[in-house]
Amino acid sequence: MKVSSQKIKKKIKFLNNFQKITKSVSLISAVRFQKKLTVVRRIIPNIFYFLNIFYSIIEKYPEETKMIFEKKVNEKGKNLIIVVSSDRGLSGSFDQLIFKKTRDLIDSELNNENFLLGIIGQKGVNYFKKLYQLEFFFYKFENFLPENLARELFNYINVLLNRGKIKNIYFVRSNLTFSGFIVESLKIFPYDIKTIEELIDKIIPKMKEWEKLKFESPIKKNLTDYIFEPNIRLTLNVLLRNLFFLILYTLILESQAALELTRTITMKRANENAKKIKNKTILEYNKLRQEKITEELIDLLR
C-alpha cells in the first residue's frame, strides 16, 4: 500500500536529526574515551610507584612486614561479584557481553550459590534485578567522576570486608586491547605478595603503548632508607589500601573507556545505517513525487 508523502518526509527529517545526534554522540564518546585513557596513563605509573615502594619495604624489613598478608578473611563469607555495565546503552553488544560473562561466572565457577552481586550501571541493574537479589548498585554513573565512584565502591567493599561478609571479590569488566576490548572476569581479592603483581599485570590495558611494560622488582636495586611514622605496619596498610584503590579505579576507568570506545563505533555505525535508510527513503519520496506529477499531467492531458 502507498505510504503518504508526508509520512516519508517526516521519516527523512527524523533520520536527518538522528544522524546529527549519532554524529555528536560518536564525537563526544571519542573525546571521553581519550580522556579516560589519559587518566589511565597517569595512574599506571602511580601503581608501579606504589608497588615499588611496597616491595622495597618488604625486601628491607622482611620480619616486620611478614604479618601484613596474614590478615585472615572470613571463610564463611560470600563471593562478591562487581559488574560494570552501561547506563544508557547505545553501546552495541557491550552490555550483552558483560551480562553473559557474569552469568557464566555465576553458573559455572560459583555454581549459582554463595554470591553477592554489586552492579554499576542502569542497564546492568535492570537486567540483573530480575534474576538475582542485588547487594548494592550504582547507576547514572556515566556523568560522575570515575574517581568518586571508585572511592564509593572502595569504601563499600571495606565495610563488607570488615563485617566479614565476603571472602572473594570478582570483577567483571572490559579490558582494552589492540582491536577493541575483551570482557573477562577477574579475581581481585584476596591477593598476596605473589598474586598482586600478577593482578596488576592483568589490569593493564593490552594496548600497544603498554605492550612492553613489565613491573621490575626493585630487589636488586639500591633500596632507599625509610622512616616510618607512626609504624611500619600502619604505613604498609595505608600503602596497600591505596594500591587496592588504584586497582579499583583503573578497572572502572578501563571499563568506562571500553564503553565509550564501543559507543563511538556503535554511533558511527548507526550514523552510516541511518544514512543508508535515509537515501532509500529519499528515493522512495522522489518516486512518489514523480508519480504524482505524472498523474497530474495525465489528468491535464485527458
Binding site: M1, G89, L90, Q96, N126, N273, R302
Partner: protein
C-alpha cells in the same frame, strides 16, 4: 429471416433485420460464414442493432448474412466440464475433444434474490494457517488478492483449490480474464502436474481476445460456479484473474459503443458492471460461491476507480508481499496489510479473535522496531522489545506452510492445518510456551510437534 451487416467499425458491428424481427438486448447473433458470434448491445432503431463481436472481425463485409439464435450467450455446465478448459462462449480449447449434448446455462442472469440468499456468515476453512488465522475467508465471500508476478499467487490459488477439494469435496472455477495467454498455459500444466485439475473448470478470455470476449469471461466463470452451487449443491471456489482486466474490458466495450467516459476515463456504468458480477457471487441455501479475485492496482493507486469500486465488494484482502517472498516464507502473505471483515469476535469467536489480534499486535510492533534494529542493532532494545522481536520472528516463520501442490518443488510434504489447531498453536506461541524453541523449528511446518 436473416439480417445483414450494415456497418463494421473495429469489433462493433451494426446489423439490420426486419422491423418485426428485431433481436433483443444481449441476444447472440451468428455469422455462419465465419462462425463468428455477436452480442447485441443496443437497439439503434426498429430492426437495427449494434453488436460486439466475440472474435476478430477480419474478413467481415457489409451485406454479410447474420442469423438470430434467440438466445443469450451461454456456457456448457455439468460435471463433464470439470477438468476442461473453455473459452468465453463455451468451446473447449484443451484438445480433449468437444462437449456434446451438454446442458448450457446463460451467462447473463440476475443475482440471487433476497429469499434465496443465505445471510448466515460461516467461515470457510482453507487449511492455510495464515489465512485461517488472520484473514478468515467467509463462505460465499469475496477475497481480493494483491500480488505482483513471482510472489506465489498461482501456487496459493492451486493450494486453495486442492484444500477445498480435500476438505469439502468442492469444485473450483478459474476464470482467466485479460491476462497473458502464456500464464494460462502454465497454470493448466501446473494444475495437471499437481493433480488438482480434475476438480477445476477453467475458462479463459485472455489478452489476445477482443474486449467483448474478455468482458463476458468473468460472467461465464460465475455461471459455471452457479451451476455447481445450485445443481450440485456444493461449496464452490471461483478464481478471477484479473478483476481489473474485467473493468478494463468493460471500459473498452463502453468506448466502442460510444458512451461518454466518466472519472479517469472509465465507463460511466463501472459500478453497475462490477455490481452485476459481484452480486452473483453469493451463498444460497444450496451452497456457496467463494471468490478469490486477483486485483491489479494501476500505478499502486488504490484510489483509482477500478480497484476502489471493487474494494467495496470485498470481504477479505490478501496481500502477497515480495519482501516476505524474499525471506523464503511461503505463502508470502503480508499479515499486516491483509485483512478480513470476518475478524470479529461475533463471527470467529473470542478465542480466535484474541489470538489473531495479539499476533497482529506483535507483528506490528516488530515492524516498528525494524528501523531501530536496522540502525542500532537488536542489543539496544529493551528486554520486553527483544522478546517481541523473537516471538514475531517465530510467528513470521510459523506463518509459512508446506503446500501439497508444491511438493515436487520443495520436497516437503504438504500440510493441511485445521483452524482449531492453528489457534491453539499460535496461542501457545504468544503465551511464551515456545520461547525455548529456535526460529528454525517453526519454518515450513504444519504444526510444531508433528
Amino acid at each position: 429471416m436473416n439480417g445483414k451487416i450494415i456497418q463494421i467499425i473495429g469489433t462493433v458491428v451494426d446489423v439490420e433485420f426486419e422491423e418485426d424481427n428485431t433481436p433483443f438486448i444481449y441476444e447472440v447473433l451468428l455469422i455462419k460464414e465465419k462462425n463468428l458470434l455477436l452480442e447485441v448491445e443496443s437497439i439503434l432503431s426498429p430492426g437495427r442493432v449494434r453488436c460486439l463481436a466475440f472474435e476478430n472481425t477480419d474478413g467481415l463485409y457489409r451485406g454479410m448474412e447474420v442469423e438470430r439464435t434467440k438466445k443469450k450467450l451461454s456456457v456448457p455446465v455439468g460435471l463433464e466440464v470439470l477438468g476442461r478448459t473453455l473459452n468465453t462462449y463455451g468451446e473447449t480449447i484443451d484438445n480433449k475433444g468437444k462437449l456434446n449434448n451438454i446442458e448450457r446455462w446463460e451467462v447473463i442472469k440476475p443475482a440471487p434474490n433476497f429469499e434465496k440468499q443465505n445471510p448466515k456468515i460461516e467461515i470457510l476453512e482453507t487449511g492455510i494457517k495464515v489465512i485461517d488465522l488472520l484473514m478468515p475467508v467467509i463462505k460465499g465471500g469475496k477475497v481480493g488478492l494483491f500480488g505482483g508476478a513471482g510472489v506465489g499467487k498461482t501456487v496459493l490459488l492451486m493450494e486453495l483449490i486442492h484444500n477445498i477439494a480435500y476438505k469439502y469435496q468442492g469444485y473450483s472455477i478459474f476464470a482467466g480474464v485479460g491476462e497473458r495467454t502464456r500464464e494460462g498455459n502454465e497454470l493448466i500444466l501446473e494444475m495437471e502436474e499437481s493433480g488438482v485439475i480434475n476438480n477445476v473448470t477453467m475458462i479463459f478470455g485472455q489478452m489476445n481476445e477482443v474486449p467483448a470476449a474478455r468482458f463476458r469471461t468473468a460472467f461465464a466463470g460465475v455461471t459455471l460456479a452457479e451451476y455447481f452451487r445450485d445443481k450440485e449443491k456444493k461449496d464452490v471456489l471461483l478464481f478471477i484473474d484479473n478483476i481489473f482486466r474485467f473493468v478494463q474490458a468493460g471500459s473498452e466495450v463502453s468506448s466502442l459503443l460510444g458512451r461518454s467516459p466518466s472519472a479517469v476515463g472509465y465507463q460511466p456504468t463501472l459500478a453497475t458492471e462490477i455490481g452485476m458480477l459481484q452480486e452473483r457471487i453469493n451463498s444460497t441455501s444450496d451452497g456457496s460461491i467463494t471468490s478469490f479475485e486477483a486485483i491489479y492496482v494501476p500505478a499502486d493507486d488504490i484510489t483509482d476507480p477500478a480497484p476502489a469500486t471493487t474494494f467495496s465488494h470485498l470481504d477479505s484482502t490478501i496481500v502477497l508481499s515480495r519482501e516476505i517472498a524474499e525471506l523464503g516464507i511461503y505463502p508470502a502473505i503480508d499479515p499486516l496489510q491483509s485483512n478480513s471483515i470476518a475478524l470479529d469476535p461475533k463471527i470467529i469467536g473470542d478465542k480466535h479473535y484474541k489470538v489473531a489480534i495479539e499476533i497482529q499486535k506483535i507483528l506490528q510492533k516488530y515492524q516498528e522496531l525494524k528501523d531501530i534494529i536496522a540502525i542500532l542493532g537488536i542489543d539496544e532494545l529493551s528486554d520486553d522489545d527483544k522478546l517481541i522481536v523473537y516471538r514475531a520472528r517465530k510467528i513470521q516463520k510459523y506463518l509459512s506452510q508446506p503446500f501439497f501442490v508444491a511438493e515436487s518443488y520443495t520436497g516437503r510434504e504438504g500440510k493441511y492445518v485445521e483452524l482449531n489447531n492453528t489457534i491453539i498453536e499460535f496461542e501457545k506461541l504468544i503465551n511464551g510456551d515456545y520461547d525455548n524453541l529456535s526460529e528454525d523449528d517453526f519454518y515450513m511446518k504444519g504444526i510444531v510437534n508433528e
